[in-house]
């Protein structure tokens, strides 16, 4: 079955894996006027059969809960007149939204989120690129082991990651601090004050770099060998090859993983939530989603939680549209 043509098309697809299959996909859907044979109805039917489970589940797991959430966000409670002030449900319109938007801690948490993402994403992407390029160099010892070690933390649940780092952050018992002391260095306590942001970012980086590194490394693997060998023969050294050939090659994959990292960063809650039981410096509203968690799980205020999460979801959608729009604009200008 594997004819040379197939091989080629696979390699092409591979090379463009990160490249923005998204954009291509759009092109394909918006301009179906390519030389593809137009399909007949039975073919449509089969496509729908294939996609039906996804759609049914999507409706069940996403759409209905979203509608439900929207409904909840318009409701509120008031102390009723019955015995002991049993709460009653009332319609409050956009009251919950106003409440969230007027709450200064909401804006503080958004500020924290911006700072967090601004540090996390660049560090994550740059480190991942560096590690991917290093892994891809010829003559690297223990390549397989290194790759595994870097990827491994991705499989560690955040509750366990927070437990591990929770201990490693305590100066009195942490080997890192003990090592520092041996060299006469006194590291600051990360779990206190403003440095707690560093503590959170570190835990997320530890768990996330491996995933991005492997994606970028894989993208490098799809670079045709001949191209690199040709460069070597031309006298290019490894740093130049990395800079002029490999780096441009992984830019599309980097943009894609970067975008996912940004979305992931905006949705951060698990790591800080788990770490918050170790320090007074992470309040229950440190990040927006922690606030949602608190309202829903500790305060039994689903209405507020729904309103806040809808605001966040809308903000994320808006941000993504801006990014995509900007990208398209840039692409048009380049074209």
């Amino acid at each position: 079955m594997t004819t040379p043509t197939i091989e080629k098309s696979r390699a092409r697809g591979g090379a463009s894996a990160g490249t923005g299959g998204d954009r291509k996909g759009n092109d394909m859907t918006t301009a179906p006027s390519t030389k593809r044979v137009s399909l007949t109805r039975p073919h449509h039917l089969f496509a729908w059969v294939l996609i039906a489970p996804a759609i049914v589940l999507f409706v069940f797991v996403f759409i209905i809960p979203i509608i439900y959430s929207g409904g909840l966000s318009l409701m509120g409670t008031a102390a009723g007149s019955s015995a002991y002030g049993v709460r009653e449900e009332v319609f409050v319109g956009l009251g919950n939204y106003a409440k969230v938007l007027q709450d200064p801690t909401f804006w503080t948490s958004l500020g924290n989120l911006v700072v967090y993402a601004a540090f996390l994403v660049p560090i994550m992407m740059l480190t991942s690129m560096l590690l991917a390029l290093l892994l891809d160099l010829p003559r690297i010892g223990l390549r397989a082991f290194n790759r595994m070690a870097i990827f491994l933390p991705y499989g560690v649940p955040s509750v366990i990651a927070a437990l591990m780092w929770g201990f490693l952050y305590v100066p009195e018992i942490s080997p890192i601090y003990q090592l520092g002391e041996a060299f006469g260095l006194q590291f600051p306590t990360l779990l206190r004050g403003d440095l707690v942001m560093t503590a959170i970012i570190n835990v997320v980086l530890w768990g996330g770099i491996g995933f991005n590194t492997i994606i970028l490394y894989t993208s490098l693997q799809s670079l045709p060998k001949e191209q690199i060998d040709a460069a070597r023969i031309d006298g290019c050294n490894e740093p130049r090859i990395a800079w002029y050939i490999k780096l441009p090659h992984i830019v599309p994959a980097t943009i894609l993983t970067g975008l996912f990292s940004v979305i992931g960063a905006l949705q951060v809650y698990s790591e800080p939530q788990m770490l918050s039981s170790l320090t007074p410096a992470i309040s229950s509203t440190y990040f927006p989603l922690m606030r949602v968690y608190r309202d829903a799980f500790a305060h039994d205020d689903l209405n507020s939680a729904s309103a806040a999460s809808i605001i966040l979801a809308l903000a994320t959608v808006l941000l993504s549209l801006l990014v995509l729009g900007g990208q398209r604009l840039a692409a048009r200008r380049n074209a």
Binding site: R139, V159, T218, S222, G235, S309, A313
Partner: protein, 314 residues
């Protein structure tokens, strides 16, 4: 600038001198003739050192757990981090006896959620991704955009409404309450779509059609085999995602016999209300919980599947 270049020169000479002594460099590739020896050397050693530092960083917490799991509660807070304690067996016994020996059950549940969830979501993603990549049909764009927008929604915001809905349908406190939501992942569908576009040529389907093969048979006998390596990657990612999932089972399951280890460990560490924090038991639990992940990654490494994550092929 000048100082650095001077140092570089010195290193360069140093390198030349040493190379004269040690000729056998163990270089497997034919070395390009004009490549400068300095860079050659740095190209071998500096990256290795940087990688080594990275590896130490990534493995440090794991190694710490390995040592900490051998310590009693007392030793945990009094002995140096990298020394073995005396209580590995005691901790493990305490762990597996915790709450009437529930830990092995929780571990089993984690496997049920991870393997079951990964299988389901890979199947759903494969079918949807294949259809979206290779068929033109009305409404396709709406479906794509709708599904992909799902990536933007934090799962936590949907968890409570999902719980209320599932409770109405009487499926909370069953394995399905967790398996159903994780069987649909927009990211998995997106990856499958990219794989399908990259690895299943349209021409092949058309050829099959000309040969009279029906669509279903084409999907099973041509599409799936070509997609297979990519689907292994989707499976891997979904497995890890489900293994790490905390919130969904926490909300959906109120009976501890349905809890996975993430929930169990969270409750072990956050019992509140005047209960001690069982660190030594939890750390033993962390060790046991990490072992399957290590094995899983090792196995995949062995079959080279990690390299497929971005959907590209060598």
């Amino acid at each position: 600038m000048s100082t650095t270049s001077r140092t570089e020169e010195r290193v360069h000479e140093d390198r030349l001198a040493r190379e004269r002594l040690v000729r056998s460099d163990g270089d497997r590739r034919p070395t390009p003739k004009r490549s400068t020896p300095l860079v050659h050397k740095l190209g071998g050693i500096l990256p290795t050192i940087v990688l080594l530092i990275a590896v130490v960083y990534f493995l440090l917490p794991m190694v710490w757990v390995l040592f900490a799991a051998t310590k009693s509660t007392g030793e945990l807070f009094s002995t140096s981090a990298f020394s073995f304690g005396s209580s590995l067996v005691d901790n493990m016994v305490a762990l597996f006896e915790y709450e009437n020996g529930s830990f092995s059950r929780w571990l089993g549940n984690s496997f049920i959620y991870s393997i079951g969830g990964a299988l389901l979501s890979t199947a759903v993603s494969a079918a949807a991704g294949y259809a979206l990549a290779l068929y033109q049909f009305p409404g396709k764009k709406a479906v794509m955009v709708g599904l992909l927008a799902g990536v933007l929604l934090p799962t936590i915001t949907l968890a409570i409404p999902q719980y209320m809905l599932f409770a109405q349908l009487n499926i909370t406190n069953t394995y399905w309450a967790v398996l159903i939501p994780i069987s649909i992942t927009p990211f998995g569908i997106y990856l499958s779509y990219v794989f399908a576009r990259g690895s299943v040529p349209q021409e092949l389907l058309e050829a099959a059609r000309v040969d009279g093969s029906n669509e279903g048979r084409t999907f099973v006998s041509i599409g799936l085999p070509l997609l297979f390596p990519g689907l292994v990657t989707v499976f891997l990612l979904q497995f890890i995602g489900a293994w790490n999932n905390f919130l969904l089972p926490y909300i959906m399951q109120s009976k501890s016999e349905l809890s996975p280890i993430t929930v169990a460990m969270f409750l072990m560490l956050n019992r509140g209300g005047s209960e001690p924090v069982l660190y030594s038991v939890a750390i033993a639990g962390a060790l046991v919980a990490v072992i399957p992940v290590v094995i899983f990654v090792l196995v995949l490494q062995r079959f080279g599947r990690l390299d497929l994550i971005s959907g590209s092929l060598k």
